[in-house]
């Protein structure tokens, strides 16, 4: 697999605190990469570094061989990287479908074409029935799905999911896990931060573990679930994977 995204010794300090330190990571095209770790491990900071919301203090980030560290968030998005926000950030005064139309407009120049794309994505995440509703009526779980829909409507080559399963019912988790697993076949590589471990363990091809800003493990889900260092830092007990 060729590297789609490459982090080279990336670090970010806030004052004297290193939220992310010396992280080197290569993500292959077509991968579903799980990123786990305890609260405060630096997962969201790492996302903000990749998405351009924060510049790295050191190191560099390459996407498709091109340096993207230092670009503004909208430039990173145009380069082909989509993200969701851990706390959903819907456009509050727009309908559900218009929220997604705004993403689809990145590729569809006309509003009518963007609307067709948006409706297709809404069907994928199971929000088709809510298309004309105001986002203010959506529950926490539905807002998470809207975040996913907005990210996917950008037709990204890489998507960063940030806890998209939080607040979802088990049925919703199952549906969304199936959706995530189907993305590589549609040309979208996935990096996925998640605390709902059974979902990520079943859908991810590979998992990396971040602890106190540093990568402490990297491997297939089954190996990570048994890794003593990961158990001590995050899992608490050995996971049995069905």
């Amino acid at each position: 697999m060729t590297a789609l995204l490459e982090l080279r010794h990336v670090g970010r300090a806030f004052g004297s605190l290193w939220a992310v330190r010396d992280v080197s990571l290569s993500v292959g095209k077509g991968e579903v990469l799980g990123l786990i770790g305890p609260n405060g491990a630096g997962k969201s900071t790492l996302y903000n570094l990749i998405a351009g919301a924060l510049p790295p203090s050191e190191g560099e980030i390459l996407f498709e061989g091109r340096r993207i560290s230092g670009l503004a968030p909208y430039q990173v998005a145009r380069a082909g990287i989509a993200r969701t926000f851990q706390i959903p950030k819907p456009y509050r005064h727009l309908t559900v479908v218009d929220n997604v139309v705004l993403s689809a407009l990145l590729h569809d120049k006309s509003v009518a074409a963007a609307r067709r794309s948006a409706e297709a994505v809404l069907a994928d995440v199971g929000l088709a029935d809510y298309a004309e509703a105001s986002v203010n009526v959506l529950t926490a779980g539905l807002l998470k799905r809207l975040e996913v829909a907005r990210a996917l409507a950008l037709a990204p080559r890489l998507v960063l999911f940030d806890e998209i399963m939080a607040g979802l019912t088990p049925t919703e988790v199952k549906m969304m896990t199936g959706l995530v697993a189907s993305l590589p076949a549609r040309g979208t590589t996935v990096i996925w931060v998640e605390h709902v471990l059974y979902a990520i363990m079943s859908a991810a091809h590979r998992i990396v573990v971040l602890h106190r800003g540093e990568l402490i493990a990297d491997g297939p889900p089954k190996k990570i679930a048994k890794d003593p260092g990961v158990i001590k830092a995050y899992l608490g007990e050995e996971m049995s994977l069905a």
């Binding site: 909208y74 456009y91 705004l102 407009l105 509003v111 029935d129 004309e132």
Partner: protein, 339 residues
Amino acid sequence: MSMSVAAPRTVGRWRLMPARGTLSLFELVLLAAFVALVAVRLPQNLQDVVVLTFLWAGLALAWNLAGGYAGLISFGHAAFFGIGAYTSTILTAHLGVTPWIGLWIAGLLAAAAGAVVAMICARLRGPFFILSTLAAAEVVRIGALNWVTLTGGPEGLSILPTPSAANMVFASKTAYAVLMLVYLVVVYGVTKVVEGSRYGYYLLAVRDDEDAASAAGVNPLFMRTSAMALSAMLTGIGGTLFAQYFLYLDPTHVISPELSFQLALLPALGGLGTAIGPVLGSVVITPLSELLRSYLGHAAAGLHLAIYGGVLIAVMLHFPGGIAAALDRLATRWRKRAP
């Protein structure tokens, strides 16, 4: 679990009520009423009200492009209005350029000023942005007061009142009413095109959530700057038209904070971020303000302002989303009643 949304009411192929990106029957009827107001022979003072209602509606629409759609609430639009009014008047007085050409230069200069304000205030949000626009307008006003050789300072500038179509000075108020109606229709058209376009959607995105907009590939600084420039340009052109109607301008009147507030008030009352809102705001408020002043202004000094203020408060309390939102609710009620 499905959300049933009643289909919008239509008459033939026309939507009944205004909606984003399309024209409705309501708008066409309103336009017909405006044309009728121009065509019928009204007494002079009522013609005056009609002219001002059209002009204020156009100006409110221009303000709304930045304040309503892009969320750039400005209390400084009088600066762009004043720049427009002074530019064409000075060009006529010093260089003999007709206001028909001057209004384009006025628009461009106002647009440049708008872009500069947006870029200077790029990092400011909410009340800080609002106060900065107010301060920027004060800078322009004080500049105009003191640059006497160019602006005439506090004594102001007069435009030769000899009627001449080539100089955009007319003897009849009907001609001015036509001029203002054309301005209103043009700014309305710009608004409708913007709100139905990708650009218009991007404005709404930046207004509602800048982080989310950036993550969708939208450049917030470009959107804010261009929205402010477009809004300022149309406001500047309105300034030129105002100058040609009043034939006199001085900094205290055309660049006053009161004017800025009025420009923000009409769209806020009518409905922010809608095309029809600012028009309805002007239709309700401008005649009220003008007629109260002319009937009560000298009989009971101050009373007209008290009534005016009372009505404003009542409208704001009763229609929090503006008159346009109230109309929307009314339309929804009809829809539910319809078989």
